[in-house]
Amino acid sequence: MVPVSPPALPWSTRVVMMLRLFAVQGAWNYETMIGNGIAFALEPALRYLPDGRDGPAYRAAVARHSGYFNAHPYLASLAVGALARAELDRVDPALIERMRSACCGPLGSTGDRLIWAGWLPLCSLMALFAFGLGLGPLGVVVLFLGTYNLGHVLVRFWAIDAGWREGLRLASVLATPAFRQAPVLIGRIMALLAGVAVPLAVARVVGADRVALVSALGVALCWTIGTALVSRRLDGWRAALAAVAAYVLYSTVL
């Protein structure tokens, strides 16, 4: 296939689309999910359709994209770039609809695995590690936000650009080996880092008391092993709520 060079989309338009993508979940609901946000982010590009804002092509495209759509919010940028390209290339609306439906699942699962179950906990562990080493409040906050958002913003910028470049060939972007390899690499770093960061963070909270430290780590180790063995689907915050409430009752009433 002869590569097709994408038409020009002004940088100012891309920047506006990018900024709107930060609010892609602003009207999140159980019927259209992030559909409204997708239309909101796409709309600046759709103004370049024939006859501009008041043209029938523009209105048809806005209507098409305000329907149901679900994806990871960061990787939704990939869909927005690709859909903008497809619309401005005047691709058959039926094909656009098919691409819209087809990319929801892969964009959701890839983003969940890469960001929510990978990058986010990894950055938390890095910040906990830094806390354990004695970094102060400002340092921990800056380290966490700086690291996390470096990845976050880069993914969003790369995604909108890659989507625009590839258009309907979006599947080829998601088939990139990096999407398979990155979660594995992140998982390995997380496994290593958790082993160091959690005990160090515990040590800093507990302080210099060795008995308390060993007790805390003992409690942690037993509960971790128990949870890992018993529960396949951890709902830790409910367990924490019950345990802390029981501890408060024990310390105040009994």
């Binding site: 930060f22 609010a23 979940q25 602003g26 009207a27 609901n29 159980y30 019927e31 259209t32 409204n36 946000g37 909101f40 709309e43 804002r53 209105r59 806005v62 305000s66 679900n70 179950a117 906990p121 906990l128 806390f131 409040p137 906050v141 966490f144 996390y148 998982g187 390995r188 997380m190 496994a191 290593l192 958790a194 082993g195 160091v196 959690v198 005990p199 160090l200 800093r204 909270v205 507990v206 008391d209 308390a212 007790s215 805390a216 409690v219 942690a220 509960w223 971790t224 951890l234 830790g236 915050w237 367990a239 924490a240 709520l241 802390v244 409430a245 501890y247 408060v248 310390s251 105040t252």
Partner: protein, 222 residues
């Protein structure tokens, strides 16, 4: 700390969880530290932020699933713990409990906002089908405003109700500060570690790396 600035902080941090900009300023490590700084003690804010972060590791915001909302909750926890610097014991456990209760209530409030957004979208169906971009902008704006208001209201009510409750319970506390910290961090570190294990257990070499990491960590502070 005054309730209104705290509620405003809760609005901003609560909005970050889903609506805008999802930069993770709502994570407990950040939100509780900032709230602690607002209340005059960022170090105590960071301590409770670490405790809550270990719990929050297990609640990842996957799609339409229901999960606790940590932004507003961390403001409540951070403010309550930072305000109680004069209390010898009990404040950390009570602030963590207050944050967990707020996280649960705030998570439920997110469901209400999502249902309200759905009703608005349903009402705007004719305009949307006609390709009216103004209707799309209006829905976004209303959704974001509702989410920010939700965060503010939850934070305001939680601090209004829980501040006097914590103050009333703290004097009844029996036990040492060291026991309190040991129990809380032991419990939450276990949840954090178990969550990480759940996430990485399918990864090749994760078991060996985790054991190596624990050995490194233990050697470090020994």
């Amino acid at each position: 700390m005054d309730l209104l600035p705290a509620a405003l902080l809760g609005a901003i941090l609560g909005l970050d969880v889903v609506g805008f900009p999802q930069a993770m300023i709502s994570r407990p490590l950040v939100a509780a530290t900032v709230a602690g700084a607002f209340a005059g003690d960022p170090e105590r804010g960071l301590i409770i932020g670490v405790v809550l972060e270990m719990i929050a590791l297990g609640t990842l915001p996957f799609g339409a699933s229901r999960y606790p909302e940590w932004g507003s909750a961390s403001v409540v926890g951070g403010v309550l713990y930072a305000q109680g610097a004069s209390a010898p014991v009990g404040q950390l456990a009570l602030a963590v409990l207050a944050a967990l209760l707020t996280a649960w209530a705030s998570g439920e409030s997110m469901v209400l906002v999502r249902q309200w957004n759905a009703r608005l979208a349903h009402g705007a169906q004719t305009a949307l089908a006609a390709g009216d971009a103004a209707a799309i902008r209006r829905l976004q704006l209303l959704g974001l405003t509702a989410d920010a208001a939700r965060g503010a209201i939850v934070t305001f009510l939680a601090l209004l109700l829980l501040t006097p409750a914590v103050a009333a319970i703290v004097p009844r506390w029996s036990g040492s500060p060291m026991t309190e910290r040991t129990v809380l961090i032991g419990l939450t570190a276990a949840l954090g570690a178990a969550t990480i294990w759940m996430l990485v257990r399918g990864t090749s070499a994760a078991r060996g790396l985790a054991v190596f990491g624990i050995a490194l960590g233990v050697t470090w502070f020994l």
